[in-house]
Symmetry: D2
Subunit: 353 residues, 4 copies
């Protein structure tokens, strides 16, 4: 049972391979009557696109979005919104050398085993190019819930990391190319990524996301809890290995008497170990979570591997790849967050009559 649809009331269905005609999707369930800001959508795509800075892949794709339906005279009509982003700069010949070879820690092997037939060019549908559609749809989702503010940023690159206890000025996130709100650490991260690339290697990192002004009541127990859908959304992103919200893994070391969030009379809580969610439902406090990204698998080094007949081969990455996925992952994390929250927001409208 194929699974190319995300969400319940707000539903994104996507298509496209990295070296096919285009990538795109249909976003169904957008309420009627919204005045869409198309520039904001393109802006998020630009934050995701390759070639935007010295520390990301140098592929050149304009990633210009074209809408096909669901918008009339500038407003949404309640009909499905289809969109397409043409694949402009695919160099399929970059991949001829890996046809029939399985790249280590890629999806080549599992796709071949599962489907028996695979578009090997650039990873086909397992490529991160797929997230173009996610960012486009997420940028629409943000406009369904304009009162909610979603801000993701680079929390760590390798072992270089921010602190959980410090407040960062999230307005600074876009002021540097690594999207880290602390300029000193950002500079170190940028230098580190450049070194890693020079070595033909890659490095992992973490993204933190903070969501403010969330209305109380979003999330539907027991199987559509807000944190469960956020976790699913994040683990859907290529290269993600972990998700934690609120106190996360470190909270497991606390006692209940330390961890409990005591109410103020306003209904807000003094601390926020809960991460803005109680019982699967938003409680009005900020939602925050972290997402772990492994290092990109494509290396500009020679690696041992096997081919389709399980013979040992050597493989070396060609093409243009990211030495660290985190800076370009920021708008992707935000987009998936927006899809989850907008869906939960629309869903909540049916809770009481």
């Amino acid at each position: 049972m194929a699974g190319n649809t995300f969400g319940h009331i707000l539903r994104l269905t996507t298509y496209g391979e990295s070296h096919g005609v285009s990538v795109g999707g249909i976003l169904d369930g957008v309420p009627a009557g919204l005045t869409l800001d198309i520039e904001k959508i393109q802006l998020d795509l630009d934050r995701r696109k390759p070639g935007q800075s010295a520390i990301v892949t140098q592929r050149k794709e304009s990633d210009t979005i074209r809408f096909k339906s669901g918008i009339f005279e500038g407003k949404t009509t309640g009909m499905p919104i289809a969109f397409e982003v043409v694949n402009a700069d695919q160099k399929s010949k970059d991949y001829g050398h890996i046809k029939g070879k399985y790249r280590p820690s890629h999806a080549d092997y599992t796709y071949d085993e599962k489907y028996g037939h695979r578009d090997y060019r650039g990873g086909g549908r397992s490529s991160a190019r797929e997230t173009v559609s996610w960012v486009a749809a997420g940028a629409i989702a943000k406009q369904i819930i304009p009162f909610i503010q979603i801000k993701a940023y680079t929390f760590s690159v390798g072992t270089l990391q921010l602190s959980d206890d410090q407040n960062y000025n999230l307005e600074q996130v876009e002021s540097n190319i690594v999207r880290c709100p602390d300029q000193d650490i950002a500079d170190k991260m940028i230098a580190h990524i450049k070194t890693v690339r020079k070595n033909g290697d890659t490095v992992g990192g973490q993204v933190k996301c903070v969501v403010e002004h969330v209305p109380i009541g979003l999330g539907d127990p027991v199987f559509e809890k807000l944190q469960a859908n956020l976790a699913k959304a994040m683990l859907s992103i290529n290269a993600v290995k972990g998700f934690e919200y609120g106190s996360g893994f470190s909270g497991t070391q606390l006692y209940g008497s330390q961890h409990n969030d005591i109410f103020e009379e306003s209904g807000r809580t003094k601390t926020n170990h809960s991460g803005g969610i109680q019982g699967g439902i938003s409680n009005g406090m900020p939602i925050y979570f972290k997402v772990a990204f492994k290092p990109v698998a494509t290396l500009m080094q020679s690696q041992r591997s096997i081919d389709q007949s399980h013979q040992a081969v050597e493989i070396t990455g060609k093409g243009r790849h990211d030495p660290c996925v985190v800076p370009r992952a920021i708008p992707i994390v935000e987009a998936m967050t927006a899809l989850v929250l907008a869906d939960a927001y629309l869903s909540h409208k049916t809770t009481q009559v």
Copy 2:
């Protein structure tokens, strides 16, 4: 939009409040012709039930399951399997004192805000009693995929923890009441939980789950990736704050040249940082992941809180609660894993004709 159904082809729908008549559910999509071992189902329920040892809640519930449909002459018929577990030992009067009060870090406040009307007895539907149905359904799911072995165990309690680099004999998990495969550390964990309880406090911990003999090909990109559904399943469990699989959060500190799993000619890999999944699809290597549980929120101590009119109140837990949720969470983690894997297994049958 209420969300009391989990899964796609294999679908569990549950009902029930902790102090209502019963908890139970309907499991739809179980293939016809399976000979069900009912004792094994009851055994998993017994591993979850309260009162089973000195370090868990002392509530007494027999948690005996009764099946209503879908099984005929010992075999599944392909029809929905309904089951019910009666709530025997609920002491609703234990909760009279909290009617109208919001317990810190519980779902009382968010349920009231979302629904406007709430069954306050024992947490109602936000109670972990709900997981009785999950364990029952998961025990059926295990029998759909008997060739897969799912083993969860206590990885940490507070700061007491096992090592990721050591191989434990998972046959030992059930040999102690904390369900930790290292007896020395298990003894320390048990002693620690007893101390915590004596203090009227609670403590968090982590569960690790290892899944072996998974066929290659389970999981459906791009939005039903195996790890995404596992993450959703785990974050659906009460008190869970995080999920990581394979190299997880620590893998973010590695270079690609360290992290990539090199193929052997068998198709297996020398290392398994990938955690048995590539591109959202199982690759035949063991799947392993960790789940973070916060400390239980109900304390046998006095805490400050507020009531429904947002006035300050004092609140003290009554009743019988777990000082540490982890030992009883083991069968729950296994059950949710089984539901995800059995669903993916059935789903995979439609991939090729």
Copy 3:
């Protein structure tokens, strides 16, 4: 992929075989805060139950409903509502004689072929007893949309039928046991059914349903059109062979100049060939449709058939069966209509923000 769930926002999942422990279901998505009238639910079950009159099956089942969850202090909580109706008067030995035989025009053969293993007692899950749960859920659905009035009645029995051009007083429907609002024709229908039963035979008929006070705007193009979901709901009922709404099949003989419904300035239309739905969306005019029921397949006559090894056998119905399904189908048609409309009503809440 099993299919025991109906609806999208309001979702009914059912279970149960006619000679199992019980039939029942879980209704998810009922909004919180509704004061449920349980007597009205039981009343609809009583309208469906066997043994209620001289022209229906003489099985005795009290069909008393018991609720398990989702209602607290008389009000819905937004949690799933589980309910159960125990099978009291099943005489499984009535079916011993058909074990291994395929009754003509029953589901015995197809269930065996599809599932390989079947509960043969009383038709198992293919029995019309399943509709107990539909009526219970529909009676709840009616209370979600109390402003809508749903009235079904017997339009024909065999060749005895009402006129489409006459207005009947639908308050009279329950005044006779065949549920036909014209007492003269009702008397003839009743006499005819008695004769048919005496002959050990059965007869078909049609149900007409009229729905008034439907808000404008229910139904979701293009694949959740109101008439499409009504059609699916009706064709889900055992023995139904056809559905038409508005002008239906006879409208195919008209010219557009005759068929078009001309608007009045109020927005209502002078005629209502459209049957209250335009473009899949309710237009505020009454919705009306007809449902065709074939004659019941179980005869108190000897019939030729085959057994599981495809050998010719003789088969004679035992037990207690309906000579005409229509009188007891009235509450079932209403219930399925209510489920569709309440689902569409909740769904419509997400159309605009």
Copy 4:
């Protein structure tokens, strides 16, 4: 909750307005490894397209399909198949005169009331142009189940109709422009449609569909019965007012002793009043059903109507419209049938392990 997705395992999601950029869709769940015959897909589109004969609308659209994904080296990959058909000959100015006016028996009024904002050009998404995508997807679905033969034809136009008791040579269906297998009646139908068009009027009709070589076992009780999904599929088509299968409405006049289908030792039945389905599951006999189409609402005559401020207006159809929808509906009925059957076929694969 928007509803632009059809099907469960095989899922079609569509987009597009009649005068927007294009219409198209994403078909998810097509099994991997099928060699797709693209010409056959285009052929079905050509059977649906306007301008194909003297008795249909004279709009000129080439309706050439372009695929965007999911096909590699001529074979399906298991990935979603996206496709697009550009709107070439839309003359939006044909609709300027109806902006703000509600055409009788169109969806103008209900869309405005439901969504508050509507693409009025050519009916927007309520246009029958939407069915381009249905036909494209259905043509792919046919190739998933090539062993099943689906044949629809014109059964009646106005009062001119075929007989249910006669066997027609369905190879003749495409030999005339009205798609009726009896050439004499076809000639009368064609002449009648020409007269109707000359009068600026329209006329209704019925389509009959016969499906042969259906495997036993398709359909999933109790809410995904094969006939229920066929009914939903047919009632989703614009202008459809009714559906009946097997003995249909006329079967309601029979006795059970006449209606029951007696088994032969082969497992087939002597008669086929059941229409190839028992208990919601195909029984291996031919499936046949009829679909009622009302006369097209757009007339080339002056009609009274109202505008958005509910003032009386006169309205006259401009543009180029079908005098009778039935000839072009034939491939649409077939396509929706194929989508239902292919979905049921894939679904059936999960019934037994």
